[in-house]
Subunit: 137 residues, 2 copies
DNA sequence: TCAGTAATGCAACTCATTTGCAATAACGAG
DNA sequence: CTCGTTATTGCAAATGAGTTGCATTACTGA
């Protein structure tokens, strides 16, 4: 990951936050990142975490997703594009890839005359485990 | 719209809120609904609006969507399924339909062994108007 | 090495949403 | 129709995620 942001300085806190994000796989919210960062530097403040997340978001290195009610998750903005599958039962977030979204994008672009810059597909459902645990319905 | 919720009472405020939602087309957030409702009943309170929105959400009559940062939109849970196109420039939300999502659902269902109950597709981009207003890039 | 200023920590502040509580009113039983 | 139960309301206070002002610290380019 290139971490040379023009006009920005590389502080120990920023380095730590980037490290946490890079190391941890999956989806983290601001508080997860704060907690993990504090294990290494107990003096880091929550506002520093937020400020850095915003910076990373603006610079395009990370993407913010609102996958669950009241939870903003951050993830590295890595190609290739992938989408999300959220289990209603346990809240776990899975990722999947899908070729047909590009086709869909072009269709919608043509119909709407929008210039489309992003697609997000989110599916909800029950993961295999949670299907078993539900007798009801 | 069937408004017979077991164990619930039909108050004038609830009726008004349902009416506002039914009448206004498009996507409303809690504050929009509050504002519109107050035009008819200036004494209605914001917490009543929130409480009723939660009720409607739980009962499945409405769906809550997080289309923009910090904005929760509500809409009637009407079939047929449709998806959202958000303009990054002006914030307007458009809807579109798409046949290929069903196919996508089946594909993912097979691969993941999830039981999928919902799909949401959201695209971001610039609407025709906002494309013109942007010289940059 | 040093000055300029980006970044930090802290505490105080937003702003959307929720909650406790006392007062009100819907509606089913009688 | 009347009454009592209790769902619902309005208000004000509380919550909680995220932001901001400010004085201090510490990168970094000259």
């Amino acid at each position: 990951m290139a971490i040379k942001l023009i006009g920005r300085r590389m502080t120990s806190q920023r380095k730590l936050i980037l490290d946490v994000i890079r190391t941890a796989k999956g989806h983290l919210d601001a508080d997860d990142i704060y907690r993990l960062a504090r294990e290494k530097d107990p003096h880091i403040s929550l506002s520093t975490v937020y400020r850095n997340l915003n910076l990373l978001k603006e610079s395009g290195l990370m993407v913010e997703r609102h996958l669950r009610e009241g939870h903003h998750y951050f993830e590295l903005n890595v190609r290739p594009q992938h989408h999300h599958l959220v289990c209603i039962g346990c809240g776990k977030v899975f990722e999947f890839k899908c070729e047909s979204t590009e086709k869909m994008k072009r269709e919608v672009e043509e119909d709407s005359r929008f210039r489309i810059t992003g697609i997000e597909v989110e599916m909800q459902g029950y993961c295999p485990e949670c299907q078993e645990n539900r007798i009801d319905e």
